[in-house]
Amino acid sequence: MTAYILRRLWQMLPTMAGVVVLVFVLFNWVGGDPTYLLAGKMADARAIANIRAQLGLDAPWYVQLGIFVKQIVTFDFGNAWSTGEPVSHIIATRLGPSLTVLVPLTVLETTIGIALALAVAFVRGSLTDRLVMVACTVGMSISILVYIIVFQYGLAYRLGLFPVQGWGEHFTENLLRYATLPILIGLAVSVAPTLRLFRSFVLDEVGQDYVRTARAKGLPERRIVWVHVLRNAAIPIITYVMANLPALLIGAFLLERFFGIPGIGREVILAVERSDFPVIKAITVYVAAATMVFNLLADLMYQAVDPRVQLA
């Protein structure tokens, strides 16, 4: 097991190196010279030379790449250009609010998705099944923007059931007061695609021989669904949920922006608006690293759920 993990981590190195080079090329060659952006409108030659020296832009490219790698390894990206706040501090403080929304959202979404998928898959082909699938397709076609705008206007602004936006100091206040509506909207948006996907996972299982055998020996349908089918359908579900966690961290950026939640996603949007390159670079590199680590975790959980899987 340890050998497997070590080998997987070793295999991540070329990919990670690729991500670093890709980000480096994007920001250093495609993106143009950030000096003029930083120097402002009234820049003289001395100020520009000064900034270039500070950023290391006057050094050859391999020195600059070295600086970038050093920044990644030491978790020290310097200060954000727009606010002067240390980038590591930005990431550390924005992670909490993001997780406050994302963890309950993921747990609820997965639970509801599994329950509905099992229910729908067992009446497959029926009118209910087809109606639910059509509703899913229509629900997925409406832009997430429309969900957010309409729900925020209707439930928060008009009916006053939730605060329109904001974020507090205490975890429970945030979770129960400010995060409730974003979580509800996140659910409304994500249940349809999740249900469609999980339904296909369950459908792959219900046709299997072991389900027929379980029925033949007289097991109640409830036990077949919740014990036999669920355990087998859980394998692709776990892979899907785990592998998508890091992407979710960014994916909730619209929710965070509309509801004023100081999370990672909103920080990315702000950084793009302000051309705050150190923040974007840091978040991109670390999210990529997290994606790879979570893929490994997914594979490890795979084996925990299914003893037939041999990690070699």
């Binding site: 070329p14 990919t15 990670m16 690729g18 991500v19 890709l22 980000v23 994007l26 920001f27 495609v30 993106g31 143009g32 397709t137 229509v138 997925m140 076609s141 409406i142 832009s143 997430i144 923007l145 429309v146 705008i149 309409v150 206007y153 602004y157 890091p246 992407a247 960014i250 994916g251 950026f253 619209l254 922006r257 990315v268 949007i269 950084a271 793009v272 608006e273 051309s275 390159f277 974007i280 978040i283 991109t284 999210v287 990529a288 994606t291 790879m292």
Partner: protein
């Protein structure tokens, strides 16, 4: 496309003929195709200037409500041509304005046209007709989605063909490239590229979406090429001395093109949604170009004033197109790849 197979049983129907027959038997798919074609027709008509070319005319009062709601009495008062203001002896521009008004009158344009108080589906902040604006916005969003999907699939096909056909080092290189691109979540990738490319414009969004979306098609096309390169018809082509390029794109590609087509139809849906979000955030279309995303951006503030029509128009048009397109893409996949069912 009905194919000669129906009349000459000796000729067996090809993949496309069979797929078209399957598709035609599917009533939902044909209805979806009809809706998609209507949208594409509106894109063509508005791109050639036959429809909605004058969407920027301020034909109605600001926020004129839809006709079925009835005119807003407060706004209707604004629609009447106002009595000219009494001459102000201290107005330094009075002379210039008088000259300009005389010029306008000579060209036959009245200074004050009567603005309409209602429109079929209302007007926006400046009195633009929402229906025409939605058609124009749809043109931008759909064209961006289509072109970007073709760019992404072309890139994915090229990389997948090289990777699957040559194998070995080339395959390793492209697989590494693929794992690098998939390590970064697509939305983060899109935002990063948007941050780096400072210029905003329709071409920029197409580039962003196209350059980041090739990974899905790449994986599928690569698998197809690996499967096909050992088949007899490729070996036969090899025996008569066909070059690698010829084998890849003249012999194999027609046999895997259905995979590419299904990928285009799937990506179009995702890219239209992505364009709307990018434009909404202001990283998409430039000021002065209307798209469904920029309409939703305006509509967000209008909703608080109770002006719901622009939001409804853009959201409905988009939902209709995306529903039809995804139903059609599903049916197309089933028709072209019956094994998947």
């Amino acid at each position: 496309m009905t194919g000669p197979g129906l009349h000459h049983p000796a000729v067996s129907p090809g993949l496309w003929t069979l797929a078209w027959r399957r598709l035609r038997a599917d009533r939902v798919a044909m209805a979806a195709l009809g809706v998609v074609c209507l949208f594409l027709l509106s894109v063509v008509l508005s791109a050639t200037g036959l429809v909605a070319a004058d969407w920027e005319d301020e034909v109605a009062v600001n926020y004129a409500p839809p006709t079925f709601v009835g005119p807003d009495p407060l706004l209707a008062a604004l629609a009447q041509p106002q009595a000219p203001a009494p001459p102000n002896a201290f107005d330094p521009l009075a002379g210039d304005i008088a000259v300009l008004k005389a010029q306008l009158a000579r060209r036959g344009q009245a200074g004050h046209t009567v603005k309409r108080t209602t429109l079929p589906f209302g007007a926006d902040k400046w009195g633009h007709d929402v229906v025409r604006k939605t058609i124009k916005g749809g043109q931008t969003s759909i064209v961006v989605g289509l072109v970007a999907a073709f760019v992404a699939v072309a890139l994915g096909t090229l990389f997948g063909a090289l990777s699957g056909f040559y194998g070995g080092r080339v395959d390793d290189f492209f697989n590494w490239f693929y794992s690098v691109f998939t390590a970064i979540p697509s939305i983060l990738m899109i935002l990063t590229v948007a941050a780096v490319l400072q210029t905003r414009g329709v071409a920029t969004i197409v580039l962003i979406l196209g350059l980041t979306g090739w990974t899905g098609p790449y994986r599928l096309i690569r698998a197809e090429y690996i499967k096909h390169k050992a088949r007899e018809y490729v070996l036969a082509a090899d025996a008569i001395g066909a070059s690698s390029r010829r084998k890849m794109f003249v012999h194999i590609f027609p046999n895997v093109s259905h995979v590419a087509l299904v990928q285009v139809s799937i990506l179009v849906v995702g890219f239209i949604k992505a364009e709307v979000i990018l434009s909404f955030l202001g990283f998409g279309v430039p000021v002065g170009v209307v798209s469904w995303g920029s309409m939703l951006n305006e509509a967000q503030n209008e909703l608080i004033l109770g002006k719901w029509w622009q939001l409804t128009a853009a959201a409905t048009a988009m939902a209709l197109l995306v529903t039809a397109f995804s139903l059609f893409a599903d049916a197309l996949r089933d028709a072209l790849d019956p094994k998947l069912k």
